[in-house]
């Protein structure tokens, strides 16, 4: 298993994130010979090496999602400080991704062994059944080629593979169902004290949209984070240090790094691969798929660089029976565009969707015990579905445990403000203690509809040091989603008031310096300012469908154009619902992997 150029594999998998890793495990567990090509570095396969990332994070001035992972010029990733509001339609070129606008795409991802699962939060809710049928039910977006029922058994597999902690009884809203004898592999993560205060304060609350009242409920959030196991499940600890990380220890730094690896990252899946059947090559950037005359993929070309600090590389070719592109929605689309592959539908790269993350913030009357625990432990699922979806986007309500976080960057900003007013000593200490623990941030993961103009493209004007394309992103947010933000703000105000928070203690405000700043004219003609962040969810760029005319892959994520090519990941999602997509992507990946096994028979 040397990865020598003239070896033939059963499958070559491009990308080592949760999707690539779990496809690799499914195939190699059944004796298939699998080669995984990862563009980034070989990160964190020893615990001591992983701890160096923790140190990098601790010393980082800007503790953004990629901050623990030093930049790699040969497999660049975008860092938050590179993202700026697009002004006057002038593209933003400062980082790896080129932003053409009109709004910047505020999300980042990571190219490294383990992929973006190194820095994700771990939130793992299922989609609700109606998410799969937006067009039929609400006249917007498109329908999926599969239903919740089809995906359900794969959700169970994905929850075990990722190690998701939840209680089934908490998760059955809007028709989400589970087999009778099933429960999650681990018990729900204990709701935070803050969640309990919010639940108490919103008892009996409901918010009306149209002529329907939506009761507000605070529910535990399903998440891929170790907790008390059920049945025969054994929590997987840190790679290389299995006694560490068997339970969440409350480090409260899930984004961007869990110091004890209680949070799932695909490093855990990769560590479990049978090395007799699975080979991993890192620092290998796939630049092209090679297509023969009959339309089959007959090889990949990758650039193997020896050192991150030098753009010297050797070009290597590898061949397999089937090819699995699982490089992340943006990178996968980019690679296929560069290869001239898989795009008879002209949908490749299009329908790029994020969940615009809309935040509101306030000061609660009493301490909520902020900055403790995982970033979110509970949600309000009440607006994930409903008749309002005819008019505006559904959303999932995230109750933050980390104070005002990205709204104002506490606690340092609080220290600075007090010092600027010459408040020092015990007064400084006491005022911090009186105010910061009361910071409440409620965020909204808002659905965005597929739009052909929201897309990833390539342009020879924008290349990286190895001569690969940088992603060029065109992005906007439609009125359907903007109206969802307005509705979200209404929900926040209702929740805040219900908790006894006066308007004077609601601090939500947006101005031209806010990320994703935009104006929206409501139905009543009012112009309201809005702002949004990226959730880090990249979806839609190689969507699945029933027809080759308007989709890139079929329901098994097999390319319509190339029988032996699978394009697997969040990019295959035709619509987004309001659930963080990794769990769904891994479920879809298991469905695709079963199909691959049939092809490889």
């Amino acid at each position: 298993m040397s990865g020598a150029p003239n070896e033939t594999w059963d499958a070559i998998i491009i990308g080592s994130g949760p999707v690539g890793a779990n496809v690799a495990k499914t195939l190699s567990d059944r004796g298939k010979r699998v080669l995984i090509l990862e563009a980034g570095r070989n990160s964190g396969t020893t615990y001591e090496g992983y701890l160096s990332y923790v140190d990098t994070y601790r010393a980082a001035l800007v503790k953004e999602p990629n901050s623990p992972y030093p930049p790699n010029p040969n497999a660049p990733s975008t860092y938050s400080q590179d993202i700026h509001n697009v002004q006057q339609r002038v593209p933003v070129l400062s980082g790896y991704q080129v932003e053409k606008g009109p709004l910047s795409f505020g999300s980042t991802y990571l190219r490294s062994l383990g992929g973006t699962s190194l820095h994700w939060l771990g939130t793992s809710p299922r989609m609700v059944p109606n998410d799969f049928r937006l067009k039929t039910l609400y006249g917007v977006g498109v329908d999926w080629p599969i239903s919740y029922d089809t995906l359900q058994p794969y959700y169970c597999r994905a929850e075990r593979a990722l190690g998701v902690s939840a209680n089934k009884a908490d998760q059955t809203h809007f028709g989400i169902w589970f087999p009778e004898d099933y429960d999650y592999p681990m018990e729900r993560i204990p709701p935070s004290y803050s969640d309990q205060v919010i639940a108490e304060g919103t008892k009996g609350l409901s918010v009306t949209f149209g002529d329907q009242a939506y009761p507000v409920s605070v529910t535990s959030l399903a998440q891929a984070r170790n907790s008390i196991p059920r049945g025969d499940y054994t929590p997987l600890g840190a790679v290389g240090a299995p006694h560490i990380g068997q339970r969440c220890e409350g480090n409260a730094s899930c984004i961007p790094i869990c110091p004890v690896q209680a949070k799932y990252s695909s490093l855990k899946t990769l560590a479990q691969l049978d090395r007799d059947h699975a080979t991993i090559i890192t620092q290998a950037v796939v630049s092209r798929l090679l297509i023969n005359e009959s339309g089959r993929i007959d090889g990949v070309e990758y650039k193997r660089y020896a050192a991150e600090g030098s753009n010297q590389y050797t070009t290597v070719t590898a061949a397999a029976t089937i090819y699995v592109v699982a490089a992340h929605a943006v990178e996968s689309a980019k690679l296929l565009l560069a290869s001239g592959a898989a795009n008879s539908s002209d949908q490749l790269g299009r329908n790029l969707m994020d969940h615009p993350f809309f935040i509101t913030w306030a000061l609660a009357p009493k301490s909520l015990g902020t900055f403790r625990g995982p970033g979110q432990t509970s949600e309000i699922p009440s607006f994930r579905d409903g008749p309002f979806r005819n008019d505006f986007a559904a959303f999932r309500v995230d109750l933050g445990n980390w104070g005002w976080d990205i709204a104002t960057f506490p606690p340092n900003s609080n220290v600075q403000n007090l010092l600027n007013a010459n408040i020092v000593g015990r007064k400084l200490r006491n005022q911090l203690g009186d105010v910061v623990p009361r910071q409440l941030r409620i965020g909204y993961v808002i659905e965005q509809l597929p739009e052909p103009g929201n897309r990833v493209t390539i342009d020879p004007e924008f290349m990286d040091p190895l001569g690969c394309y940088r992603p060029v992103i065109h992005y906007n947010v439609s009125d359907y989603t903007r109206a969802g933000m307005v509705a979200a703000n209404k929900v926040s105000n209702a929740v805040f008031h219900s908790m006894g928070i006066t308007d004077a203690n609601i601090f939500t405000h947006f101005d031209s310096s806010s990320p994703g700043y935009m104006m929206y004219r409501t139905e009543s003609g009012q112009e309201v300012p809005l702002s949004f962040y990226g959730s880090g969810h990249h979806m839609g760029t190689h969507r699945m469908g029933v027809s080759r005319t308007d989709s890139v892959v079929n329901q098994y994520q097999q390319s319509w154009d190339h029988d032996n090519l699978y394009v697997v990941g969040c990019g295959s999602m035709p619509t987004t619902g309001s659930s963080n997509p990794t769990l769904t992507a891994v479920a879809m990946a298991f469905m695709a992997a079963d199909h691959m096994l049939q092809q490889l028979r």
Partner: protein
């Protein structure tokens, strides 16, 4: 869920270099070890600025590190002036920093924090104790007193971040360190009565 954002104020404070890692720190020369008197004054001043007592400050393990950092960045002379001003304040306050706290507070304000030269340094020292981060001194201070190459905004070390006093002040722990254990976040917070 990985909200990507960065604090524009921090971005403005960063002049050069990537924010991904602490820049290489090679002091221009090794300062001589502080005298016991200087150390004691430093700890007293730090206590007055931060509201934490000797034991709590020593418990961070950062006393020597921060005095060394301060001296390296603003120089022996400025550090000496700062500590001497503190000593004068203590004397004027009755010889014991804790005897008349209200009077001490006023003296600290008028004779140090309001001072054009010493005020920014004192505030920087307080911020350093609270966050493990040194902020580049304001432009007009640098114009008036000299701009040292070491005077960049940076976090002193991973451990300095971990030892930041702000986390204790808000009744929690540094994010990514000193983890309080499974289920702790479900319990009522300590400190402020819930």
């Amino acid at each position: 869920m990985t909200y990507s954002a960065h604090d524009p104020r921090t971005m403005q404070a960063i002049n050069t270099g990537p924010s991904h890692s602490a820049p290489q720190r090679t002091p221009l020369r090794t300062p001589p070890a502080p005298t016991a008197l200087a150390l004691e004054r430093f700890v007293q001043l730090s206590g007055a600025l931060t509201g934490y007592d000797h034991a709590e400050l020593y418990g961070t393990g950062m006393v020597d590190v921060y005095l060394g950092t301060l001296t390296a960045i603003v120089g022996d002379g400025m550090t000496g002036r700062l500590l001497q001003r503190w000593a004068d304040i203590v004397e004027e306050g009755g010889g014991d920093p804790h005897r008349e706290p209200h009077k001490m507070e006023g003296l600290l304000r008028h004779q140090m924090l309001d001072d054009d030269t010493l005020g920014p340094v004192a505030r920087n020292l307080a911020f350093l104790w609270y966050t493990g981060q040194w902020n580049q001194l304001p432009a007009d201070w640098r114009d008036a007193n000299g701009a040292n190459a070491l005077d960049q905004t940076y976090i002193i070390s991973p451990d300095a971040y971990v030892q930041g006093l702000v986390w204790q002040a808000i009744h929690s722990h540094p994010m990514g360190a000193k983890q309080p254990g499974y289920g702790s976040w479900a319990l009522p917070p300590q400190g402020n009565a819930p």
